[in-house]
Symmetry: C2
């Protein structure tokens, strides 16, 4: 039981379970074994004298009491976080451990530099970076595995913007650029409109993936219905597809083109200039922590630096 928080680890586990719904998933997320989670929850019920779980089919389910407890514990966690942050500030203290989480692009482009910076400014701080998709990032925050997450804001997220467990601050609006083969007629242009690319074969992520809704949203905003020719999971793959002349695609400006062959990045202008909003999320209450504040500043700085540098330097 590795308690970095002052709230009983078993209660944290219960909160994670409330999200996962199964012991196994809770175990995976918390880093315990399923038996350990099972034992923890049983012990928790014994100590509190409350029945929190009921058998339900082949799994278990929260009782009304359990749901009540989980919901009520939100403010408890938030209060602790803000107390800790305030104490840190008041006493000019330094944190010893700091967990960061973010989706692929963010992890590589924002979190890695942040970690590097913190390593020099705060040599005693033990920084850990976890790559994870936005949904999992929130889960990791709840599980206290990470302290700060960088995610793309999705309107259709399970996590509402005003979730009592989190506080979110906008880091940047990451514009989507178009990548096209360098032998494409439009390749010499500096900017294009989506309308100009309406008839092109498009490459996107698999339907249902994190960015697919972003993709479609961009085109509906532009009043264009794209023809989806290919699907790729990672940016690298998509870039390679474009480089091979299979079609064109959208690439967030934050994502680097690296030394991709035969691929040109163009800014989009005109109606429906698409972008993805990137936000930082922390546990509610911890936003005032000096370390969090410093990190947010660094993140914003490097985000701006990257945005202004591209695509010019990168082409």
């Amino acid at each position: 039981m590795h308690n970095r928080c002052m709230i009983d680890a078993r209660l944290i586990t219960l909160r994670v379970f409330a999200r996962c719904g199964t012991i196994g998933a809770t175990a995976e997320l918390t880093g315990y074994s399923p038996s350990a989670v099972s034992a923890q929850l049983r012990e928790l019920q014994r100590v509190l004298g409350m029945q929190l779980l009921t058998k339900d089919g082949r799994g278990v389910r929260l009782t009304a009491t359990g749901r009540f407890l989980v919901a009520g514990s939100d403010t408890l966690i938030a209060d602790w976080e803000s107390l800790r942050a305030a104490a840190m500030q008041a006493g000019d203290q330094v944190q010893s451990h700091f967990g960061l989480g973010g989706f692929s692009t963010a992890a590589a482009q924002l979190l890695a530099p942040l970690a590097a910076t913190l390593r020099t400014t705060r040599p005693l701080l033990e920084v850990q970076v976890l790559e994870a998709n936005p949904a999992r990032c929130f889960d990791l925050l709840v599980a206290e595995r990470i302290d700060l997450a960088v995610i793309v804001a999705m309107q259709s997220d399970t996590y509402a913007e005003d979730d009592p467990r989190f506080e979110q601050t906008v880091l940047l609006d990451d514009p989507l650029d178009v990548i096209i083969p360098s032998d494409h007629p439009l390749a010499s242009r500096e900017t294009v409109t989506l309308q100009e690319l309406a008839s092109e074969p498009w490459i996107t992520e698999a339907a249902g993936s994190t960015y697919h809704s972003l993709f479609t949203a961009a085109f509906t905003a532009a009043g264009v219905t794209p023809r989806i020719a290919h699907e790729a999971v990672e940016w690298e793959t998509q870039i390679a597809f474009v480089g091979a002349g299979l079609g064109v695609g959208l690439l967030p400006r934050l994502a680097p083109l690296r030394g991709a062959e035969n691929v040109v990045r163009l800014r989009i202008t005109g109606r429906g200039k698409p972008s993805r909003r990137i936000v930082a999320a922390v546990r509610r209450g911890s936003i005032t922590s000096p370390l969090i504040q410093e990190s947010l500043g660094i993140l914003q700085l490097s985000a701006n630096r990257i945005l202004t540098a591209r695509p010019e330097d990168d082409l």
Copy 2:
């Protein structure tokens, strides 16, 4: 580390230390050994990455950060207590452990019957009663050793009535009776005034004891300056003194005369009818707990029963 609370036991220990000021006293109060307390606090500092203690002479002292943390944790504890209470109510759950504390008379006359009643109404509940003076009762509440304390309200207490850590409810005003030898000229009376007893030799507790201030307050209110002839620590001793004809004394109506020889209990009338206020104290937030509520009801009931029964039945 016996966590009945969801707040880290080490933080509780820190809170106790904040009151005691020394590791040894903290150990005594929490039930740990001094080494354990020392280790806990060291570990707490490591985990939180905060310096909470400083060497100070041959002891240790809280840093500013430490004081800040302790002060801020008040609301955290209170929030947890009220959450637990609400969950108990919401889910119709039963508590498994219940700690009671009270000063001698209360322990014998109020808490013992309460414990007995709870044993029958809630067979699964494990009740523990601790006899302790009022000041220690508050400390035991902070240390989470007990959940409910019965104490005499003292205006000159270190614990203010609006301490953020506690909630107090008046149980009863316990009138002080006079006990006199049965061969005393006034022994056949039903009631007396303090003025009538002005010239008697009085028996009281040692100066500085819990009730001595109560004693003097009673007489100043009556406009009488008593002649203190003897001092006793326990009621039993005082009663014996009176029975031996050494003088007269004040006895709370709650305190039983038992089969005391040659002693008569008289009600006091007239100006300055003295009484002591007996209140129940709980950790803030827990007042809405069903168990606490039930207990308060039972306490009030048995208090009233005892008060109306005496002195008639008891003489």
